[in-house]
């Protein structure tokens, strides 16, 4: 049996007196697409930031590809991250941004440029980021996340601000990554998008995991036809 790509055990995170995550146990299977869902403030972004080491856990353990999330950031060499709203120095062009991140990772790292062509970004590469629309910047973010041949891709609200064509192309790219064995975590509020992309779901509510497993099992468990209704049914059950 292969080890999971991400293992989260007894994870808690407290900001001041507020508990954001309360003993979260999650396993992200290798080579699958896992969606993280939950209402605002459920702890989705915090969980992602904890996996990336951007936020420190209050207690608990996280392993990424068998390596603990600690001070040594080497484990992030195989992670591609697309933040909800990536803001970079505005005088940089997209090409310079890609080059900067390549320099940070080391020049010997292999680069995959395919998504630039797929999202038709070639003509925008030499314009300062401040002159690009929100959607185009989001495409730049997506290209950056997939640029260094990651084994784990983390996408936070990936299609927010994208036009329908770019959104569909990005989803196709994510699905094609799965077929080449890449693991993907997607945090999103758009249930139809998660249903289209994901194999598994982690449903967070009030800092706790309410459900983790395949989407099909969740639909069966709640006897609902689609993910949106299944999640809603789960929320109603939990709140009651």
């Amino acid at each position: 049996m292969t080890t999971p790509m991400v293992e989260v055990a007894s994870l808690t995170k407290r900001f001041g007196s507020v508990d954001i995550l309360r003993g979260v146990d999650v396993t992200i299977a290798r080579g699958r697409i896992t969606g993280i869902v939950g209402p605002n403030g459920a702890g989705k972004s915090t969980l992602i930031k904890l996996i990336l080491g951007l936020t420190r856990p209050t207690s608990g353990r996280i392993l990424v590809d068998g390596h603990p999330v600690d001070e040594d950031g080497a484990y992030r060499a195989r992670i591609g991250y697309m933040p909800q709203m990536g803001r970079f120095p505005e005088h940089l062009t997209a090409r310079e941004l890609f080059d900067t991140m390549h320099e940070v990772r080391g020049r010997d790292v292999e680069v995959d440029d395919d998504l630039v062509g797929v999202l038709s970004l070639q003509d925008q590469l030499d314009k300062p980021l401040r002159t690009l629309s929100g959607g185009t910047r989001q495409k730049v973010n997506a290209c950056l996340a997939l640029r260094f041949s990651p084994a784990l891709v983390i996408l936070d609200e990936p299609t927010a601000g994208l036009d329908p064509r770019s959104s569909a192309l990005l989803k196709d790219a994510v699905l094609s990554l799965r077929s080449s064995g890449v693991t993907t975590i997607v945090a999103s509020h758009v249930m139809s998008e998660l249903e289209e992309l994901c194999d598994d779901i982690v449903f967070l509510l009030d800092g706790r995991v309410c459900y983790t497993g395949p989407i099909s099992d969740l639909r069966g468990l709640t006897r609902q036809a689609n993910l949106e209704r299944a999640v809603a049914a789960l929320m109603i059950r939990e709140v009651a």
Partner: protein
Amino acid sequence: MSIALRLARIHARDVLRGRWLITYASGLALLAESFLRFSGSESNAVLGLGTVTLIAVPLLTLVVATVHLYAARDFIEALLAQPVRRRALFAGLYLGLALPAAGAFLVGVGVPLAVRGFGDELRGACATLLVSGVLLTLTFVAIACCVVFMVEDRLRGLGVALGVWGLLAVLYDAGVLMFVAMASDWPLEKPLLALTFANPIDLARVSLLLRLDTAGLMGYTGAAFQHFFAEWWGAGLALAALTGWVAIPVLISARAFNRKDF
């Protein structure tokens, strides 16, 4: 090249492209040239430049570094999502900001002074001015790092930064004056020397004044100070203390950065 130096180069390139540093260096050069042309004597010019270095340089460095680091927060987050250690990233961020700022000070003030080529009597004062300016720049960039990595809200952070400058540049001296007035019946040389070492701006000011002929105006305390700073170990201790004033906020901000939740 180590990852910290690579990050410092990337950050320095970003800082230099922001243009504010060129404006800062040009402004300092303009001021320096004005002092050198219109102050009457070379000693007065250095004294005037000293005032700019002690008051304006810390303020401008602190405000600009604070604003720049708050604006770069999302980019810092993006860099932190790459395979880099936090310590290396902090070193890159600090050096990439502090070294260009110190370089801008050296160009802005040092080049006009070097072009004039002062005689032997002011060479020590000019060297003290430049070394103090560089060390104060490094200190106040580090204080800006402390503020940005400890205070989440940028408006509050800017307020705290201005408060720190006000405390070190203005209020501290007011406190020292009150202390002198209240304790005028006791010998004050040693306590005043200790109080001078406890504030980098005061330490730089005293180090500079004692290299100029204005030191005679400081009375008996000035004479005691001059005796202390004229000795090689006194001057060495002052330099070590100013360097310590760089190290303390650097260590505090590195610790804050290491613990910060992005």
